[in-house]
Symmetry: D3
Subunit: 255 residues, 6 copies
């Protein structure tokens, strides 16, 4: 007999996911993604220039920034702007988001432009980095769509869907999908998985928290992750409508 989790979920059950699109007025693309009690504003801004290391490459770039409101969390955090520097955690997450999105975009097709992704967590309850990636993909796709429709980008540059979930092993050695904060704080193993729409891995980051895990556990966690991922892709496809066809066409062209 399986025990349910403290919030009543099955071990392989995601929290409810809602993605509100066109959440803000100014950005080219913006969403509010809600995963349980976690809420992240993701925006995509397209700028007509690239960072120095990409100049004259004929290719574009995708850069991501991540932040939390001071009171997104149970205890108020000091702002990184007030401290005058980013924490290692923030830098790690920013790099992860940017790298993940770049893996499904043909940077040549967007020209010498930067897509700035901003993920601002307004309420945190675990899984903020994975929610950021899942939401940012939608914001980016919408920003790109507007540029394609305006003729500024000639070829549809997004090669596949992209989403992320967390999985983990709790203190009782149970594997769980989509950890909330309380579960994450107690987990022995914490793993973030980023996947493309066709089921390939883009990022896999699995950490034993003063603990370790076997390859068998790794496989169970990946199975759980795939289940969650498929639910996220359904939501993305529903929202992105005709973009879906563009991605399909592109994927076929690539294959």
């Amino acid at each position: 007999m399986t025990m349910r989790r403290f919030d009543g979920r099955e071990k392989n059950e995601m929290r409810p996911v809602i993605i509100d699109t066109e959440f803000l007025k100014h950005p080219e693309g913006s969403v509010l993604i809600t995963v349980g009690e976690t809420k992240v504003i993701c925006t995509a801004s397209i700028e007509d220039r690239v960072p120095p290391f990409m100049r004259n490459s004929g290719k574009g770039w995708i850069a991501a920034e991540y932040s939390m409101l001071p009171r997104a969390t149970e205890q108020r955090n000091i702002r990184e702007a007030a401290k005058g520097k980013l924490s290692g955690r923030t830098m790690e997450i920013q790099r992860l988001i940017g790298r993940s999105l770049r893996s499904v975009v043909d940077l040549s097709s967007i020209g010498e432009r930067t897509i700035w992704i901003d993920c601002d967590v307004i309420q945190a309850d675990g899984g903020t980095r994975t929610a950021s990636i899942t939401g940012a993909f939608v914001a980016m796709a919408m920003a790109v769509k507007s540029f394609v429709e305006a003729g500024k980008i000639k070829t549809w540059p997004i090669l596949d869907y992209l989403a992320a979930v967390s999985v983990g092993v709790d203190a009782g050695q149970e594997e769980l999908l989509d950890l909330c904060y309380k579960e994450d704080a107690d987990a022995a193993v914490d793993m973030n998985i980023v996947m493309t729409g066709n089921g390939e891995l883009v990022e896999l980051q699995g950490t034993g928290e003063e603990a370790s895990y076997s390859r068998a556990q790794l496989n169970s966690l990946l199975d759980l992750g795939e289940k969650g991922m498929n639910e996220l892709f359904l939501i993305q496809k529903e929202l992105l409508g005709s973009i879906d066809e563009d991605i399909q066409t592109k994927k076929e062209a690539v294959e």
Copy 2:
């Protein structure tokens, strides 16, 4: 015959103001204030200690921080956390918000605690600092209420309502109430007014932008400001319900 403004408003007309309370889960008090297209998340967090300069004074402190999402604006702004320092504008606004709120709170009554006010602009269309003050007052009152109800604060410490509006003089020397971004950018005079519920001034900051203004104009601007302020106090009173009585009692005791 009077010309209407570009958005159809009369010169003495505020934009619609909505204050959503209990907007976030974690803070002791939180609102989303919407003034036209300007949207600010204001939270109040109560911490059981004071900054070094207030230690052993028996009094509390109110500190405010203000920030904008990078894409709250038409053009994306570089994050202050990424630049590693706060701009002069941010510091000026933070100091204004904190000083304004402190003017209506009896700091002795809250004990050696800090009320942290965080104002995060998620969408900007002019008047972000005045919306921040008006919203932060409500968030603070709710946080204080929860502490009073829990018996942690013994005496109701808030002495009066507090709100803020902007007024200004446009290029054609017309005086306007509640400037949106487009009006603000072209204004010859830009003035922020912070007032208490009984009509006293707390802060008055009037700036000629490569221009100057007469005392007659100053008076017209203050009249406009008072009109807007009264509308804001009505909204605050409706939201704060029984707090209103606490403030009334306190005010009578003080008078």
Copy 3:
């Protein structure tokens, strides 16, 4: 019967003001302004380029910096250079000085140049920001004069005189002109007024220090301020000699 102030002054009496011109050898314009015990070195330096945001605008810029010697004050202050960042107070004052001076200069006439204003307080006894503005105007006028005489600036760009004073309300609800440090520290209301030679307001910053003030008090404070301002303009006119004519001509041309 009116009480005199602790230093023997009437309520509407300024402290003695002395402006020593050509105080330093290198700057294009420099003064030492003394207001009672407050002493500020103000210099104006003209640089043949503008900040990035003004490039190719055909217009110049005026930028101000403000600092205090560590021992300008009763207690030694830590240098901002040693702390590695400017305080909010410093930034606020720098922005105020720059904005005030720009309001009386035709930036097109100076060409793509920056006038750097440096205000260094060597001894502080209240009113350092207003003394800085009053002194900086003279330093700037002298620097501009040398450039006009050298033919580097073709049209006299200064449109009017500019000075500043502080006024305030003390704990006993008395309105006072030109607060020294002791009065400022105890004031219920603290107001800085920046005016042009023809009596128009450029900046008005009135702050209730954990207090508020009525519009009637505001009017009394402005009356006091105007009295002080007229005394400052007399000193400026005496010093600037023929510049006075240039300003008169310019003002007539503008009117």
Copy 4:
């Protein structure tokens, strides 16, 4: 017929690994680890206090820092001390090293002490973070040994061996063990594996570089990693001599 790699290695072949112990005079433990052309000085310093968040916990902490000499690389890098901040890459690596080492140490047994791990790359040719972990484990074990022998630490706190290798997929979809810089720069997939002596995973970080990978590829990469890991454990065991017994005893006690 399998193609050999550009440096003549088989796909599943490590570069030569040498660990020189007692490399420096002052630290409690120090090694120079050489992996092919990659050379890292790893030191372990034991300090009699813990960071603020661990105070009064009765437990110790392990903190790691990582740096490269400016000319460890083909092109000279600007020092992070000169830039005044750590890069995201450096922070990520530091956090990885610290977290990995903490997974095999019983922090209660070391008391309220911090083991500082410093990994300074003097020559870089790929795999600097994995070499750092493998070398740092040996430096840490030696430092701990000296404290145990001096009676300052009562119970042997290290639970198992720990090492790390990189694996990857090259542009031709070949899986490779222990990538040198040239291979790493061209890799489609780059994976760092940290394992304990009993074959459990501690960290798994697999990144598609503008690419993705299947679960089948993941499994092949893990097989390659295990092969390399076993070679590293042999070297560690040979060096650590009697420490090996301590670890064995401890492991048995734990199981």
Copy 5:
């Protein structure tokens, strides 16, 4: 026949030196030292605590800070506070001033206090660091005197006079005393000498500027320096009056 210098001085001639004492109101000791066109405000502030590394040592400390007004020089310099960090030159000078003063003070006699020396150059024409040391000694002696007279310091702690001059070798291999800026900029060798009243060396810093010098030249430069130093000690003795006796007594006691 000897050539005179460009400003008419003999090679072994100092510029006129004036030390105005009690220049500022707040500091315990303050002077304005003028050496030719170089002008430095030197203040001494006594604080009742020492830096962490001196706590519980029973001894005091002397710390020095040095800065230039932005327009102390021909070209305006960017403020170090605006850049957010001190230059290497500033740090070098600060360390030199502090170390020099500490060499003539019995730190045990001042108790656990810090004497803060602030040297702010308001006009620079060469020799600012040596003028700072010469002036700072007088400011420090006066601050110490007030503490001795108030009974806060029991034993006169200053062991000897202290002053500094620059000497150098010009492009024509002529040795010069007290270089002004123009001479310093062209010098082949630049040397700063700090000496005690009894003719002992405290600091000697001689630098070949893309040049070198022989021991014979070193000796000539030291002879020149001694001549200048004797003139400075006469000025210091005249100013310090009865302090002179204290120093004499102390010196005899020490010898």
Copy 6:
């Protein structure tokens, strides 16, 4: 009868000096210099551009950076990269190294290039700055040689050998050559001497540590320094082989 030093050396005896050349793979020139227990990695990197202040001068530049591993010392030091700024000591040493090397190089001959010198102390036991200069000269000469041989630099630009030693006066007023850390910490006078191969002084920095010294002592210290310097030049000449001839030729041409 003379007492030997605590490590058995005579007062005028250097510690053993070893310079390993081609220590690292990537830099144009690199050495590991060992002086007793002090070990410094010195590298020279040649970059095809100069700092802004040298642009279009037709001349090159030599810039030096200096750092210590955290555990080069008895107690672990906090990294300057972690603190976010360089200490005054580091800046002072960096400036000394760069200035010293520039004194023996004809900057016109190297063209608009920067020679970056990096001195990284991996083990410290006194004299790290002098060892850095002595080792950096060799690394630089080798880097320059490779550029001359490759035809990128047409004229041999190094005018003379360059080395550095420390000398000092101990508490018992004995003069010592080449102080180790223990001697340096207790010294009354600490002096660093930088000389060219023909016996001219380039830098002389002599500091009384809360002490002073006579001109007679200065002369004895310089005699000791010359003795050590001659031993260092022999080692440099042996290592640099044919470079020696280039320097001789150049020196004759200059004379």
